[in-house]
Amino acid sequence: MRPAWWVICSRELRDLWIGGKALHLILIYTVLLGIYAFLLASNAEVKLLPLKEMVLEMVRASIMVALFISLLIGADSVSGERERATLEGLLLTPASRRQIVFGKLLAAVSPWPVALAVSIPYWSVLAKGDPVFSQALLWGVVLGTLLAPACAALGMIVSMLCNSNKSSMLVSIGLYLLLLLPTELARPGRNPTAAEVRRAVAYQWVNPWDAASTLLGKTLMNDAPLRDVWVLLVLPVLFTVIVLGLVFLYGNRGVRLEAAAPQRWQLFWARWGHVPGLTTRHD
């Protein structure tokens, strides 16, 4: 007899990978990564980039896109079932809400190892036998494995709060951009000013993406040892623990036929609707 979470995870994996969206997203990922690797390796201008920086850019891109895939799959997990009217059948079984969440979470994380397997050859080709490859492999695996469950869980929380898949996807993408864009925009240039450095350091302490990105930069570019960079791991670990904790805590109430958030909004408006003068009452 298999536990319910395992049965649910198996079904999810099957839905995702046999002609499902995980397969399509990974195919797109592979193509995009190939194009990016080709550009890095062949474009005359960026060819001037040092080899280590090329590998760093590639690893960053691989992780960020793979995390995005996990986020999207997480964002579809509950609201998608609501839309397809398959959630009720699941809720009527003896499987607890947490088992449902756990099974779906594992499935949503599943694109990460596949994406990693797809990425490693690109990293290897770009590294051209340089020892930076082993650093890239180590930190790529560590950071991706740390952040992929967090991304999937973040998407799932949003999915529990949204009734429609469209809103779940939009909110998730918004959150992702909110985390990713400051990381990219605030990255200091080759000769950063003091203000840029201060801003970059500040981001490292509030944005797990930024912390992960900085950690990759320091280890791959400067061969920084663990004792110098472990502090940058604190925020991603904390973020993952908090998001995973939230998804399991909220999962017990959040996995339901109708999302709680829109209902609360309705109650809010219903309450305001009863304030004389704001709306017409139909008693």
Binding site: E81, A85, G89, L92
Partner: protein
Amino acid sequence: MNGKGDASLMMYDGDGRGSGSGPDVLIAENLQKFYGPRPALRGLSFTLKAGRILGFLGPNGAGKTTSIRILTTILEPSAGRFEVDGISCDYPDKIRRRIGVLPESFGLPKQMTGIEYVTFFGQLYGLSAKAARSHGLKLLEEVGLGQRTKSLVGTYSHGMRQRVGLARALVNNPAVVFLDEPTLGLDPRGQQELRELVRQIARERNAGVVLCSHLLAEVETVCDDVVIMSSGEVVAAGRVADVIGRAEQNVIRVRVPAASIDESRRALETIPAVRKVEAAGATPGWLRVEVDGGAGEEHTLNNRILDVLIRAEITVLSFEPQGGRLQDVFLNLTAEAIK
């Protein structure tokens, strides 16, 4: 007739008549549900015995779906309690092991075959993959999908989807089966076959069945007991025959050709026991005949009415003796409650 304040209506207890005379498998006591300040359910009480079919009726918004969702542990009641097969509502996980549900609208994963779908649910109820598959094959055979077990559910017709949903609802050999509009959208043959399946579930599996339906004729023919709800309240409950009988005593409905309406009325008014004759319903030709009834005199009076019409050479197209139809009861009760 108003169910409010009538204790016999508020707490109906199936009496064990007919095929089902088993133990109580579903007991609901004063279930209430509020959405914010708005009441969706105000005191639902009834009992269902094993092997019996309970029709759950009510206009849209009456609280049927809310009731079903509470009884199937999807929603928590604001007040009241219920038991399924002796298990208190304090243990929803255990209750889910003892119920089977066919929701009104449910989705099916298109890329799964019928047997994979039922096997998946069997595994969630703790069966091994092999046992779940073998059990699933039997269930699909039972619901008439034995030839289509390996077809993708995405290719199933609506009737087949309902059947596979029914197979899923039976996967845990439930003590109570909830069927929400199971025949909705099916052709007449499909409806007939599904009704027969519902009877089989009650008869052969000795399960209590709660059947939500808008098809009153269906409830009348399939169900042993009925609960009629309106605006979140029970307005009538009891055996189907009793509920029908309660609504319009001493009323007979007769259908004659539209051209013979006046002639029929004159002929019927010659009978001393006939109090009033009037046109009934939107369909031309229906007459509503109010009579003075006495215990044991119904059959004599029915024969007398038919005799008068035949002697007047009026063709009798339809004759519905006292008690009327569930539809009349339903319309009367729900209209009163809405007023």
